[in-house]
């Protein structure tokens, strides 16, 4: 099953002949957004108390720009940094959940693994797009997972919910930012 999932991810990510690098990155970001949304749906189906839960405001991930009006390339670099933090958060969620409940094999756990892989793939794309001679970008997770989550298991669930919302936000942001970059570089909106 896991191998099939891996294969499916690989097939979906295979470059479509004729599509540019930015076009592929946009498609990948959109796919990630779709999967993150699905992941949240699965989580809410598991934890039904979230149906009337209002998460605490404020982003968990908020990279600060170097300039007030960053260029598109700089925005992609910022995006890359945010996505690294997202990957770190997702790793942390997986770690904490497995500590608590062991390695389960439900739909939620499977999709969680998909999203991790997709996010890693997107990071490679944004690295390739945003890296310059002067800057080298990493693709490793950027989060230490040292936070103490208040409220025991229930608190962990609410925190996980926030992380999943964060993933959705940044995947959407990635799709938009990369689309702008694509328009500038390819001169067309078409992917």
């Amino acid at each position: 099953m896991a191998e099939q999932e891996e294969q499916q991810i690989t097939v979906l990510d295979t470059p479509v002949p004729g599509r540019s690098r930015t076009g592929r990155a946009v498609a990948l970001a959109r796919l990630l957004h779709h999967e993150c949304t699905h992941l949240l749906q699965l989580y809410k189906a598991k934890e039904t108390f979230l149906s009337d839960h209002t998460p605490d405001g404020g982003r968990i991930v908020s990279p600060s720009p170097d300039s007030e009006e960053p260029s598109t390339e700089e925005q992609v670099q910022l995006l890359h940094a945010a996505l690294r933090q997202c990957l770190g958060l997702l790793h942390c969620v997986i770690l904490k959940e497995e500590e608590e409940w062991g390695e389960l094999e439900g739909d939620y756990e499977t999709m969680r693994k998909n999203v991790r892989g997709r996010l890693e793939h997107l990071l490679h794309s944004t690295k390739a797009l945003a890296e310059t001679e002067d800057t080298t970008l990493e693709v490793t997770p950027d989060h230490k997972c040292t936070e103490e989550v208040d409220g025991g298991v229930f608190g962990l669930k609410m925190w996980t919910y926030r992380v999943l919302l964060e993933l959705i936000h940044w995947a959407d942001h990635a799709a938009q930012t990369l689309h702008v970059l694509h328009k500038e570089r390819e001169g067309t909106e078409e992917i």
Binding site: E47, D52, G151
Partner: protein, 800 residues
């Protein structure tokens, strides 16, 4: 972070009594709330040292001055002077409401003043909080969760996911604290969420693990090597997660992993019953299982090791194996061998003390087998061992089995046929077949020929008046099979048997026949299509059997078969019975001209309609007869049955007494399916008068033609004829004209006849001369008599 503070002491201090004992009471009280418990510790006043009896302390727990619990603690004389403690789990979490604990001592009739301590709840929260935040709960227990709201927040709701409102009871403790009491249910989720929500949508919660103490059962212990005990049991479902595992101990020693329901410990197994005890414990409870047994009667043998085929022959094999445990050599062991030939599994069983071999018989030569062995104790059988690992072996080859031979005799040749040997009969690739034949009178004079495989027949032109004995052998690399012999009978017209009908059922023919004393070696039943399209098939049955069912994928519906039953004798087979029929009749084909082109022939007012005989191939059912339908086209009536027959061999039917009209005739064959295969023909009938007129006209024309021809010839050859027939007669001297001419003249005819009667000179010869006549067509009809002679003295008369 909350802090519990001690509240000052309550109640008057009596302190001074006449007796030091009266000053005995608690001091240095400390109240804490570890986890969700209330822990009270205190010491005895030094005056209590004078007490030489049990000193009783009484405790009362209050929430908002309302007593919720009371208890007593007995302190023995040797404990007086030490620090005492009392632990209690309140219904409402200590972090939800403040609990007060009052304590006093009692000795005989003297009671010390109450001393009180109180827990403090500090609410500096920013969001609701649920207590207990986590915990392990027994399914079925009644539990109270509480929710503490931040200052200023208004309570909205509190619930457990998966519970209906009727299952939950929410009460207000105060305007900041609410309690939810529920009878907990175990769930398949890892933990059950408890949520509290304020009107401002702020919410929070807890997750409760709800489960059961261990429910393990059915403990059975055994030994496999007499050096250890292995116990197995059914693991209960506690509904708890990995953080609340069940811990197992067998005979007081921990099990490595009891979650699979299996644990073993080293122990010397002795004869005699013993208690074998397993404990299973989790945070909710402990269960102890005991199995009392003599393990020498519960030996679970290990699978045989090193199973090998030590001697492999064509039809038998020796298997040998060894034992992991030395003690098995002294055990009476039963072993089962599973032998697979690729399709069929057979099991054989043997037993013996320390059994370590067996012989497998009745194997097929040149065949691959797979075997595996499992064993158990013969006495006090407990369990089979696991199957050993399987081994393969290939038996040695052998000569093929004898062939099944039969014959098919036609008018001009004898076809010898044999059935192809299956792989489990040929024991190797068949190279060829050898056929020998000889007169039964001169068996030593054999003819011989070889037939290459895969041919399965040989056509022989034999003298049908003689009897032959034929043998066939099959040859493979190991040699030739035993000869299969058949005696071909001479053809004897006297050997005719009656033919009867047979119909199959459920796709087969079921036959039974009377036993024959000549059938010393059984009976042979053969069958083939009467149309002769394919070869004969046969089966042989033993002498004791006088019935057979013919199932064959080659037997088709709608095809007529000829079935013959022969008695197998020491000599030639003897034909006993013949039957003809269908395994299943089918309706006759409607298309394709079943009857061919119909012919018709009128005979007066009868019409005979005829058809070509229907071929056997087209007869997909028995024809019971034919029906001829007639339709008068002018009168436009429906078809009516004119005539029918029950003769299946009929090829014509005659409709009688028909009108002179145009008819459409239809012929149908009658079968078990009803009337089939219509053929039609239209016939226009002629009247009988017309026929007569036609006949007379033809006759007249013929006669006229003949006469015309004669006239022409006579005319042309008149001189010659005259000379020959009527040579000149000397003219007589006639005295008077006497009969010189006779002319008949009638208004009705133009008939003229001139007759001259003349004689020669001596009247020895007289003749009549008749002139040519010409008569009308009509007159001929009415003429009664015409004759004339050219010689003689006869006067012919012509009447009109």
């Amino acid at each position: 972070m909350e802090m519990e503070k001690k509240v000052g002491k309550a109640g008057p201090d009596y302190g001074h009594f006449s007796s030091g004992v009266l000053r005995c009471g608690p001091q240095n009280m400390t109240l804490t709330t570890p986890d969700q418990n209330i822990l009270l510790t205190w010491e005895d006043d030094p005056a209590c040292l004078a007490v030489h009896d049990i000193l009783m302390y009484e405790l009362v727990v209050l929430i908002a001055d309302k007593q919720v619990h009371d208890d007593k603690v007995a302190v023995t004389p040797d404990q007086i002077g030490s620090t005492h403690s009392w632990n209690w789990t309140p219904n409402l979490h200590p972090k939800c409401v403040s609990h007060s604990v009052r304590l006093s001592s009692r000795y005989k009739n003297h009671t010390s003043p109450w001393k009180q301590e109180q827990t403090q709840v500090i609410n500096n929260r920013t969001r609701p909080e649920v207590f207990p935040k986590m915990g392990l709960f027994m399914a079925g227990s009644r539990t109270t969760f509480c929710c503490v709201l931040p200052a200023g927040e208004i309570f909205d709701k509190m619930y457990l996911t998966g519970y209906s409102s009727t299952e939950m009871n929410t009460t207000e403790i105060n305007n900041q604290t609410y309690a939810l009491t529920v009878d907990l249910k175990a769930s398949n989720n890892v933990c059950t969420n408890v949520k509290c929500r304020a009107m401002s949508t702020k919410d929070n919660g807890a997750c409760a693990s709800i489960g059961y103490p261990p429910g393990d059962r059915d403990l059975h212990c055994e030994t496999r090597d007499f050096q250890s005990v292995e116990c197995l049991w059914t693991v209960g479902n506690t509904h708890l997660d990995i953080k609340s595992p069940t811990v197992y101990q067998l005979l007081g020693s921990p099990c490595a992993d009891g979650s699979k329901g299996r644990c073993s410990q080293e122990v010397q197994v002795r004869v005699g019953e013993q208690n074998w005890t397993l404990t299973a414990q989790n945070q909710l409870g402990t269960v102890e299982l005991t199995d009392r047994a003599d393990l020498t009667k519960r030996v679970h043998v290990f699978a045989p090791k090193g199973v090998t085929a030590s001697a492999v022959n064509a039809r038998n094999v020796s298997l040998v194996w060894g034992w992991r445990v030395q003690q098995y050599n002294n055990l009476n062991i039963t072993c089962r061998v599973n032998v697979s030939d690729g399709e069929i599994h057979t099991i054989s069983e043997n037993f013996g003390v320390g059994l370590n071999f067996t012989v497998l018989d009745d194997l097929i030569p040149d065949w691959t087998y797979t075997v595996m062995v499992k064993c158990g104790t013969t006495q006090h059988f407990w369990k089979w061992s696991e199957w050993s690992s399987s081994i393969n072996f290939h038996t040695k080859g052998d000569v093929p089995d004898a062939l099944d031979v039969w014959m098919q005799m036609t008018d001009n040749q004898t076809l010898l046929i044999w059935k192809m040997l299956l792989a489990n009969q040929s024991y190797g690739h068949i190279i060829d077949y050898e056929v020998t034949w000889a007169h039964t009178k001169t068996p030593e004079r054999k003819n011989r020929t070889k037939v290459a495989h895969p041919q399965d027949h040989l056509a022989l032109s034999l003298d049908t008046t003689e009897e032959y004995i034929i043998s066939v052998t099959a040859r493979n690399i190991n040699g030739s099979s035993s000869p299969s012999t058949i005696t071909i009978p001479s053809s004897n017209p006297a050997n005719r048997v009656n033919m009867s009908r047979i119909l199959g059922r459920n796709g087969s023919f079921s036959l039974s026949w009377s036993a024959s004393p000549t059938a010393s070696c059984g009976y042979i039943v053969d069958w083939w299509p009467t149309s002769g399209e394919s070869r004969v098939e046969w089966l042989k049955v033993p002498p004791s059997q006088t019935n057979a069912s013919i199932f064959s994928k080659n037997v088709q519906d709608g095809l007529r078969y000829l079935l013959s039953i022969y008695a197998c004798t020491q000599g030639a087979p003897v034909l006993l019975e013949r039957r003809e029929g269908y395994v299943k009749e089918k309706p006759l084909p409607e298309e394709g001209g079943l009857f061919g082109t119909l012919q018709w022939k009128q005979q007066d007012s009868d019409v005979e309609v005829s058809w070509d005989p229907i071929s056997l191939r087209a007869q997909t059912a028995f024809i019971e007869g034919y029906i001829l339908y007639c339709l008068d086209n002018k009168n436009n009536n429906n078809f009516a049955i004119c005539v029918s027959t029950e003769d299946p061999e009929a090829t014509s039917l005659t409709a009688r007494n028909l009108q002179i009209s145009s008819y459409t005739f239809a012929v149908k064959a009658r079968t078990v399916f009803g009337e089939c295969g219509t053929a039609t023909i239209i016939a226009t009938l002629n009247s009988p008068t017309d026929y007569l007129i036609k006949a007379v006209f033809i006759s007249l024309v013929t006669v006229f033609g003949l006469l015309s021809l004669i006239t022409i010839i006579c005319y042309k050859q008149w001189a010659c004829i005259k000379e020959k027939v009527y040579p000149p007669i000397p003219k007589p001297v006639l005295t008077d004209k006497w009969l010189t001419s006779l002319a008949f003249d009638s208004p009705k005819s133009t008939f003229r006849l001139a007759i001259c009667f003349v004689c020669n000179e001596d009247c020895s010869r007289c003749g009549v001369k008749i002139g040519a006549v010409l008569f009308t067509w009509i007159r001929v009809i009415t003429m009664k008599h015409i004759s004339w002679m050219f010689q003689g003295c006869i006067v012919n008369q012509v009447h009109q």
